[in-house]
Symmetry: C2
Subunit: 226 residues, 2 copies
């Protein structure tokens, strides 16, 4: 895209730039980020920035290499912040990330997370007294950070938007796209990514999957940790 | 999840390896690949390989850097081949990619695509006389390659599985996961990625979106090409 336009002089929506920062880190879950990225990147004027405490190639929890192009300091005031989940313990313990999040949240229009990315927002102190969600398997733990856990797919509390597990970031992205560019534009993006979901099964929540499938998955999680 | 019969000398499902190759290329659409990757990477024994004619960092159509770790020659016989779409003209014109696809398809258990990735399979001659799909906006063009275009979200024809646009790769991945590891394991993966879709709108197909939204999107596509 044309990066030549100065900020501040644009006079219509298409010539405005809207910076969207995605936090990239080792052991993150790719779809947590790619869902909202695929949606929000199609907004008018979207200027995507993949950021990390130390730029370079990060490896997801399934070892895909994703490139963080910019250091946090180069993107101090994005309009939209997106924090994906995965194994979020690294960024939760990295004061550079938490300081950046606190500062970015001061000026952001929207601060968002997907899956356990909300724990990174929580570690930065941003969810104190706020309604928020995360992956169903870890929902209650948010309360330890003073958040009010909500079992919904997309939770809005002011300019904070948190999404449930992994694939919920697509729904969050569309919700946010509508806030930014209007319902019709969000609908056009949905059509563009042909998001007319027809999973072959209906087991996307613990209640729908049933106890046997929940146990199967918990056994798998336990074996992964061992 | 237990498929019983060991390959070679493995004696349980977890010690078997199943190589899954994802073709990575410049100007691809990230979600086309990440949808099936997020699902199939959770299969028992999944050994993911990101391949390209020339390994290194590729840039998606929205400029995300994705790393192709392996040259095609290093992954000659994957059990599963996944070809994402996007601007697919590069790989369609690259004989190295087409030769690799033809050879890999000879021995693959499943050969798959998402969105316009099916045009790459078609260019390799793999869709001649086969039922196949792609993004709704480009469906009819598949017939020029001798394929039989089908307007369905996931189309199976023998070991060929093609998915509709972008997000349809998640549904394709779950369909394939069930073939490989059984319905219950696929259900557990669906629960793991919390794929309980609730988009804020119902406009994921041209019929559902309506003529006005279709025109809005077509105008956007036209402006992008200009």
């Amino acid at each position: 895209m044309d990066e030549g336009e100065p900020d501040g002089e644009a006079d219509d929506v298409d010539s405005r730039r809207m910076q969207i920062a995605f936090l990239v880190y080792d052991d993150m879950t790719a779809l947590d980020m790619i869902g909202p990225y695929e949606v929000l990147g199609r907004l008018p004027g979207a200027e995507i920035r993949f950021v990390a405490a130390e730029p370079g190639t990060k490896r997801t929890d399934q070892k895909l290499g994703l490139v963080a192009d910019f250091p946090l300091a180069d993107v101090p005031a994005p309009e939209i912040v997106v924090v994906p989940g995965g194994d979020q313990r690294g960024p939760m313990g990295d004061e550079r990330v938490l300081d950046w999040l606190r500062a970015a949240h001061e000026t952001s229009t929207w601060t968002t997370s997907v899956c356990t990315g909300s724990y990174i927002l929580a570690a930065a102190g941003l969810l104190e007294g706020r309604r928020a969600t995360t992956h169903w398997a870890t929902l209650e733990g948010l309360a330890e950070f003073g958040a009010l856990p909500v079992s919904e797919r997309v939770v809005e509390d002011g300019k904070l938007i948190t999404a449930a597990g992994v694939s919920a970031g697509i729904d969050m992205g569309l919700t946010l796209a509508a806030r930014v560019a209007g319902d019709d534009f969000a609908r056009a993006i949905q059509l563009g990514i042909e998001y007319d979901p027809h999973p072959p099964f209906d087991s996307g929540s613990p209640a729908k999957a049933g106890a046997q499938i929940v146990e199967l998955l918990r056994g798998y999680y336990a074996s992964e940790r061992s």
